[in-house]
C-alpha cells in the first residue's frame, strides 16, 4: 500500500481533515481513482494546480507515473518558475 | 510645421533623413534609418541602452533631438566593428561572458569605448562610475567590468 499524503486544506475540504491515506495501486491514476470513490470530488480538486511527489520525485503533470507498493506519495502545490 | 531635413555623418557615411521636432535621435536612428542596434530602455536617459557618440561626446540618443544632429557626426554600435573584425571590447565582452540577454550590451560597448579613449588606464572604480549610466539587470556588472579591463589592457598592447 502506498502512503498518500494530501495538503491540509484539501484534506479539510474533501476528506474530513484526514491527510494520510494508505492506497494500493500501480500508478497515480489508479490511486486517485480509488481515493475518488472514497471522497467524491477529490480527483477534480487534485487536478486544480497540484503536483505530486513520488518518493521525493516531483511531477508537475501526473497521470501514469508508477507507484511502488511502499511508495510515499505527496500532493503539493505545483511549482512555477521565474 | 513640415518635417526637418537632416544631413549627418553616421558611422562615417553621409546619411539624410526627415524628422519631426519631437523625434529624438534614437527614434530617427531606429525608425528612419533602421539602425536598431541602439536600444530604448527608458527614453529618459536613465538606462544608457541608447548610448551613442555625438561629435565625439558620449550621449543618450533618447535625450537628443533628431534635428539637432544636422551637420554633426554620430557613431553607433553598428559602426564599432570593422566588417567582421571585432573591436577589442566586443571580443572581450564575448570572452568574459559579459552579456546574458544582451539588450544593454550595445550601450555598454559605446560607453566603454568612450571611456578608454579618454582614459586608457581606468581603475575598477573609474570604470564603475563612468558606466553608472548604463543599467544591466542580468550580470551584476562583474563580468562587464572585467571585460572592459581586459579590453583596456589589450588596447594598451599589454596582451
Amino acid at each position: 500500500m502506498a502512503k498518500v499524503t494530501l495538503p491540509i486544506e484539501v484534506a479539510r475540504s474533501h476528506c474530513h481533515g484526514e491527510r494520510g491515506h494508505d492506497v494500493s495501486g500501480s500508478d497515480i491514476r489508479e490511486i486517485v481513482k480509488k481515493l475518488e470513490l472514497q471522497f467524491p470530488g477529490l480527483r477534480e480538486r487534485l487536478n486544480q494546480g497540484l503536483a505530486v511527489a513520488i518518493d521525493g520525485e516531483i511531477f508537475q503533470d501526473w497521470l501514469l507515473q508508477e507507484v511502488e507498493t511502499d511508495s510515499e506519495v505527496y500532493f503539493l502545490p505545483a511549482i512555477e518558475g521565474g | 510645421m513640415a518635417k526637418h531635413h537632416v544631413e549627418a555623418i553616421i558611422n562615417g557615411d553621409p546619411a539624410e533623413f526627415l524628422c519631426g521636432t519631437e523625434q529624438t535621435l534614437l527614434d530617427c536612428l531606429r525608425d528612419e534609418l533602421s539602425l536598431t542596434g541602439s536600444k530604448e530602455g527608458c527614453s529618459s536617459g536613465d538606462c544608457g541602452a541608447c548610448s551613442v557618440m555625438l561629435d565625439g561626446r558620449l550621449v543618450c540618443a533618447c535625450l537628443v533631438l533628431g534635428v539637432e544632429v544636422n551637420g554633426k557626426k554620430v557613431e553607433t554600435i553598428e559602426g564599432v566593428a570593422k566588417g567582421d573584425d571585432l573591436h577589442p571590447l566586443q571580443k572581450h565582452f564575448l570572452q568574459e561572458a559579459a552579456l546574458q540577454c544582451g539588450i544593454c550590451t550595445p550601450g555598454f560597448i559605446i560607453a566603454a569605448k568612450a571611456l578608454l579613449k579618454e582614459n586608457p588606464h581606468p581603475t575598477e572604480t573609474e570604470i564603475r562610475y563612468w558606466l553608472a549610466g548604463n543599467l544591466c539587470r542580468c550580470t551584476g556588472y562583474d563580468k562587464i567590468i572585467a571585460a572592459v579591463q581586459k579590453a583596456a589592457a589589450e588596447m594598451r598592447g599589454e596582451s
Partner: protein, 289 residues
C-alpha cells in the same frame, strides 16, 4: 505636442525676438536633458523649441579681470575640463559634475540646471554659495541678477516673457578661501539629490572665518541661501562648537516635503550633517589657498 517648431538661432538678439514673438509658448533648450524628458512625458506645452547651443556667448568660458564668465549652455563635462575654474571654484564644478551620468554630463548645462527650477538642482547651491550672478537678456536689454533670485518656486523662474539666461559670472576667489558641494543620494550615482549643500568661506591668517555663504538644496521649494549658517561660522575658528551651531542652523532652515526621495525628518537631519562635512572640506581648501 502637435506641430512643435524648432529653431537654432546664432545670436542673443534672435533668441529674444523668437521668445517675444512666441508669447511664452517658446522653450529655451540647451542640453535638453530635462526638457526632452518633459516633452516625452507630454508635460511640455510649447509651440517652439529654441536651441541656444549655436550661440558662442552661451558656449564659452571667459576669464575676465575680476572673475569668470560662463555661458549658460556650457555642459558639465566642459566646465569640468576647465582648469582655471576648477582651481578657483571646485565646489561649483563638483555640483555640476554630479548631475546625471557620463552621458548626461556631455549635455546638461549650468543654465538649464538652474532654469529648470528644480529645488534639488545640484548645480545651484554651489553657485549661490559662490555668490554667482546671472546675465539675463530680454526685450529691454540685459540685466544682472544673483543666482538665488532666479527660481521663485518649483519649475518657476523670475524671468519675464522674452527673457532668457545668457551667462553666469563667478568672481575671482579671494585669498584664504575655499568652497565645496556635497549632496546625499541613496545610490552612488543616477539619483536626484535628497539634500544638497554648497559652502564657500574665507578665513584670515589666524584661521578665523571672515566671510561665509552656505546654500541648501532639496530642503525647501527653492535652493536657500542660509544667513544663520554663515553667522554660525563668521567670527569663529570653525571649531567643534561652530560646526554644531552650523549644522543646527542648517537643519532649522529646512522646510522640506515627504516624497519618494526622502522624508521631512530625514532631509532635515542630513542637511545638518552635510553642512558640517562640506564646511570641513571648504575649510581645508581655504587653508591651502
Amino acid at each position: 505636442m502637435a506641430n512643435l517648431d524648432y529653431s537654432s538661432p546664432s545670436s542673443v538678439k534672435e533668441v529674444v525676438k523668437i521668445l517675444t514673438a512666441a508669447k511664452g509658448k517658446a522653450k529655451v533648450m540647451a542640453g535638453g536633458t530635462d526638457l526632452l524628458v518633459q516633452l516625452r512625458a507630454g508635460r511640455l506645452k510649447a509651440s517652439t523649441i529654441v536651441d541656444v547651443k549655436n550661440i558662442s556667448e552661451l558656449r564659452t568660458i571667459k576669464k575676465e579681470k575680476n572673475g569668470f564668465t560662463i555661458g549658460a549652455a556650457v555642459s558639465g563635462a566642459e566646465l569640468g575640463a576647465h582648469k582655471a575654474v576648477n582651481k578657483a571654484w571646485p565646489g561649483v564644478v563638483e555640483g555640476l559634475e554630479l548631475i546625471g551620468s557620463t552621458q548626461i554630463q556631455g549635455r546638461a548645462s549650468l543654465g538649464g540646471n538652474l532654469c529648470n527650477g528644480s529645488p534639488a538642482a545640484d548645480g545651484v547651491p554651489g553657485m549661490i554659495a559662490a555668490g554667482a550672478t546671472c546675465l539675463i537678456a530680454g526685450p529691454k536689454g540685459t540685466r544682472t541678477v544673483p543666482v538665488e533670485k532666479i527660481v521663485v518656486s518649483p519649475g518657476k523662474t523670475s524671468l519675464k516673457s522674452g527673457e532668457f539666461l545668457v551667462s553666469f559670472f563667478l568672481p575671482n576667489r579671494p585669498k584664504k578661501s575655499g568652497d565645496a558641494y556635497l549632496r546625499f543620494i541613496p545610490r552612488t550615482e543616477m539619483d536626484i539629490a535628497v539634500v544638497g549643500v554648497g559652502v564657500s568661506l574665507t578665513i584670515d591668517k589666524k584661521g578665523m572665518c571672515t566671510d561665509a555663504r552656505v546654500s541648501l538644496g532639496a530642503v525647501a521649494p527653492t535652493a536657500l541661501l542660509v544667513k544663520n549658517c554663515a553667522n554660525a561660522l563668521i567670527g569663529t575658528n570653525i571649531d567643534e562648537d561652530a560646526l554644531n551651531a552650523l549644522s543646527e542652523a542648517a537643519s532649522s532652515a529646512c522646510n522640506p516635503i515627504d516624497d519618494k526621495r526622502g522624508t521631512i525628518k530625514y532631509r532635515t537631519k542630513v542637511a545638518g550633517v552635510l553642512a558640517r562635512r562640506a564646511t570641513v572640506i571648504a575649510l581645508k581648501r581655504a587653508r591651502k589657498n
